[in-house]
Amino acid sequence: MIEVTEVPSPFCGIGTDDLTIRVDGVSLKVVENGCPVNTPAFEQAITDTSPRVDGKDVSLDAAVAKAAALLKGTNQPVIGGCATDVNGMRALLALADRCGAVVDNMNFNATRRNLLALQDSGWMTTTLAEVKNRCDLFLVVGADPESFAPRFFERYLWNQESMFLEDTGNREVIYLGKAPSGNASTSPKGQKAQVFECGMEDLPELVAVLRALVKGQPIRAESVGGIAVADLQGIADKLKAAGYSVVTWAASALSYDQAELTVQTLSEMIKDINDLNTRCSGLPLGGKEGDQTANQVCGWTTGYPARTRFSKGFPEYDPYLNDIEVMTANGEADALVWVQAFNVNAVPPATDLPTIVIGRSGMTFAKEPDVFIPVGTPGIDHAGHAYRMDNVVAIRLKKCRDSGLPSTSDVLNAIEQAL
């Protein structure tokens, strides 16, 4: 039995890297600094170690050969999931380039809300250490940071010491839209967050009014989505009075049509505040389990985010047409490769297409795929790199145990070689 310390997590998105993990053979136990997101993700037991073809155990070589054979005659293969480490994504993109596939990260429909705003008008954002040391007003719009990452507040707002704040307990936290699911946002002194709740469907209007108030535009209505305009004026005044406010949202939580306009309005409001003689930054929550990694690696490899096709021999980005769930449902694809090294519950969409799953050991299927190759998890079974939600910091994932499971890149490189 050994203990691995200072273990970074690829699961929570906030770059927690102080976990202590006890390793007993291939079973792991998080003994320090676990949380409801990280602990089960690390402790997930290995079940399968053998690849399967048509439900029967085979050697890795045989499974790779079968996967290559399935891909060989295809006209439009698609590669979904895209949940792995940097090397896994490198191999995935090499394979896609080789066989003319469409590459699509499984959470792209959520990420798209941010990307469309970014690609239309840009934004001003910040990173976790700036939040930890500088943020004096934290505005949460339609999101629940503590269910996203249970240790978010503990690590980045209620930290004992900070570079530039006398007392981190004096930070103000305001929720607009959703109420928090727990008490993590309550300061150590017991100061509760201010909460202004409304239906998610009212959020676009609310955000638009808040921006107008920041810009000093007159608003005739007295309330918006059940919230008094006077209360919104109060938030606008606080944003303008703060030294370094941070506005956060989670694209995945904005699950309504044209939510990118909400992201854009918030982002433009943040820019406006920076022209009113103070500082304000955005902090989009997201990017767990390889989402950010997929977009980063696809970004430098192709110039585009991770919804990109190689069918014509060069990369083409389309945030709508390259949605592989739509493609498989519409009969636009003739083979599916699903890559998911982090989450056993994230299984491929139901389809009759020939299906190859490169998945975390422990994954179970309603319908057995043609080929299943269990792979190790980056940060548990092999070293690797993963991006944190704030896009700047790539964390060096550690190998905690010797499971003998191959890495995503081992398997995908082998399939590419076999083509």
Partner: protein, 555 residues
């Protein structure tokens, strides 16, 4: 395998060879002496009538790191116009202003370049910079690690820590981030922007730390010198793009007191305030100061007309410039109490007075600085123009009549405000070879690169002499990287992987105790997880590290 390159006209400033007919032999990736008459030549290339230089080295090009990837993500429309097909030898990708990594490597190689150095590696983002560069084929690469707006250094300066302590921290950071030089961007200004300061002059103090840019430059330039790092402190000065900033630049040169200092993209820092538009060229004064102060080296950051994107660590100045964004979208980021970045798309127009004069100021600078060993050919890719415009720039430098033809087409008021038409100088092939090869290798401190004498790695570019220098430099006949033929007739025929160049100055191990405490108190990762280890370069099976000696050390 013994390769012979026969009868080419060699320009090798590193050995003082200026256009001499000479054979070159390559064995095991390196250039070797003539092996004797009996040794069998495995492969011979007839280079009679061809021009032979070592592989070119871009000493300042933004090819790796977060801001580049933000720039890519921001501009899908720019990539869409420049798709790059997969071939038997190459991967697919996209080009133009901020090409994908594979395309970056291919296009550099196709112009005869065999190395590029990322000048703005944020220590906290260094992993990304190296991972991106690990996906740039053919080229060797390296990075200059950014300091000067990081809380730890500023805190040390506030506390008046001694130079030795600062040297230790600089050396530690350089090794943790695996760099070959130290860069400072708007010294203290990126930090000041986070405290809502919107400008920071050379002697203005950061409002929180009470430290001025001048002090930061002084301690960092001293640290670089005392640690024996060959590459001088790489400085992106104060007040980038501000009319009148030539005075800041002159003051910066004066103030460094003879310490080695490299002023980067100096074109953006050479502006006066004369004329009807209160914007004028300071190139003559800057060039004169550079000529006089032998401790100073510069690269130009030439502006060339067309669409590009500016990506800089200087988020203070990028934020101020966002109103010029074209298309109108931009990103600014504060980063980890360490640094920042700003990405602003830009379209330089020859009929815009300011842009046209920027173009002329860059060329004036090239032509008025006497010593080609102290000036380097850059567009500050992609900030002044994409690197793919280098052959055009070389023609502007080598061909006076072409230059004057171009000059005649720009904004008429800008024509009146430049002395360009009166400058007769034309760069020679040898001077181009100095700026883009021998000088760059010497400036960065690369052993066994940038020259063609025996012992050098066989990074070699072969051109067909052509009076149209743009055509000549756009399409080499052959490019060899580490002795392997990678480009034929301007097209990549074989891809391989270059190395990453670093230096490893010593530091007192006791400082890591303080750093560990500091990381635990204030930052978001453990100090052990922050440091980049060697295996992060090698574990994908194609990267390597090459450590170069410090000054005074023998390799």
């Amino acid at each position: 395998m013994l390769i012979k390159l026969t009868g080419g006209t060699v320009y090798d400033p590193a050995s003082g060879i200026d256009g001499k007919k000479q054979d070159i032999y390559i064995k095991d990736g390196r250039i070797v002496n003539q092996p004797g008459p009996d040794v069998q030549i495995d492969k011979e290339y007839d280079l009679s009538g061809k021009v032979v230089m070592s592989g070119a080295i871009d000493m300042h090009t933004h090819i790796g790191g977060g801001k580049g990837n933000i720039a890519r993500t921001l501009l899908p429309e720019d990539h869409r116009m420049d798709p790059v097909h997969r071939t038997d030898a190459t991967r697919s990708g996209t080009g133009h202003a901020m090409p994908s990594t594979f395309v970056t490597g291919y296009r550099y190689a196709e112009m005869g370049y065999t190395a590029g150095f990322e000048p703005a590696v944020l220590a906290v983002n260094a992993r990304q910079a190296h991972m991106e560069m690990a996906d740039i084929p053919i080229l060797d690469k390296g990075g200059y690690v950014m300091l000067g707006s990081d809380d730890y250094l500023l805190r040390m300066l506030t506390a008046k820590k001694d130079q030795k302590a600062i040297n230790d921290y600089v050396a530690w950071t350089l090794q943790a981030a695996k760099g070959i030089g130290i860069k400072v961007v708007n010294p203290g200004g990126i930090s000041a922007f986070k405290f809502n300061q919107r400008k920071l002059d050379l002697d203005e103090k950061n409002s929180h730390y009470g430290v001025s840019p001048r002090e930061i430059l002084q301690v960092l330039a001293t640290a670089v010198k005392q640690l024996g790092i060959t590459h001088p402190l790489h400085v992106h000065g104060c007040n980038l793009g501000v009319p009148g900033n030539m005075n800041t630049t002159l003051d910066t040169i004066q103030g460094i007191g003879g310490l080695p200092m490299h002023l980067t993209h100096i074109q953006f820092h050479s502006y006066g305030t004369e004329g009807d538009f209160k914007f004028s060229s300071g190139a003559a004064q800057i060039a004169e100061a550079v000529n006089r102060n032998k401790n100073i080296t510069i690269d130009v950051g030439q502006v060339l007309f067309g669409q590009t994107v500016t990506a800089s660590g200087d988020n203070m100045r990028q934020h101020a410039n966002h109103k010029h964004a074209s298309p109108n979208k931009w990103v600014c980021m504060d980063i980890e109490c360490d640094a920042g970045c700003g990405v602003v798309p830009f379209k330089y127009k020859d009929q815009n007075f300011v842009n046209a004069l920027q173009w002329a100021i860059g060329l004036e600078t090239f032509l008025l600085v006497d010593d080609p060993w102290r000036i380097f050919l850059t567009t500050d890719h992609p900030n002044g123009a994409p690197f793919t415009s280098y052959p055009h720039l070389i023609r502007l430098l080598m061909d006076k009549s072409f230059r004057n033809d171009m000059l005649a087409t720009i904004h008429p008021e800008a024509q009146k405000m430049t002395t360009l038409a009166s400058i007769d100088r034309e760069y020679s092939l040898q001077e181009i070879a100095i700026m883009t090869r021998a000088g760059a290798a010497r400036l960065i401190g690369l052993q066994d690169r940038g020259g063609l004498s025996a012992g050098n790695w066989a990074d070699i570019t072969v051109y067909t002499d052509n009076a149209d220098r743009e055509k000549m430099f756009a399409k080499p006949d052959y490019v060899f990287k580490d002795g392997e033929l990678v480009v034929r007739d301007g097209t990549v025929v074989h891809s391989k992987w270059g190395t990453t160049h670093i230096v490893k100055p010593d530091w007192d191990p006791s400082i890591e105790k303080d750093l560990q405490k500091y990381f635990d108190r204030f930052l978001t990762m453990k100090v052990g997880n922050f440091k980049i280890s060697d295996d992060e370069f090698t574990d994908i099976g194609r990267g390597s590290l090459t450590a170069h000696p410090l000054k005074g050390e023998v390799a």
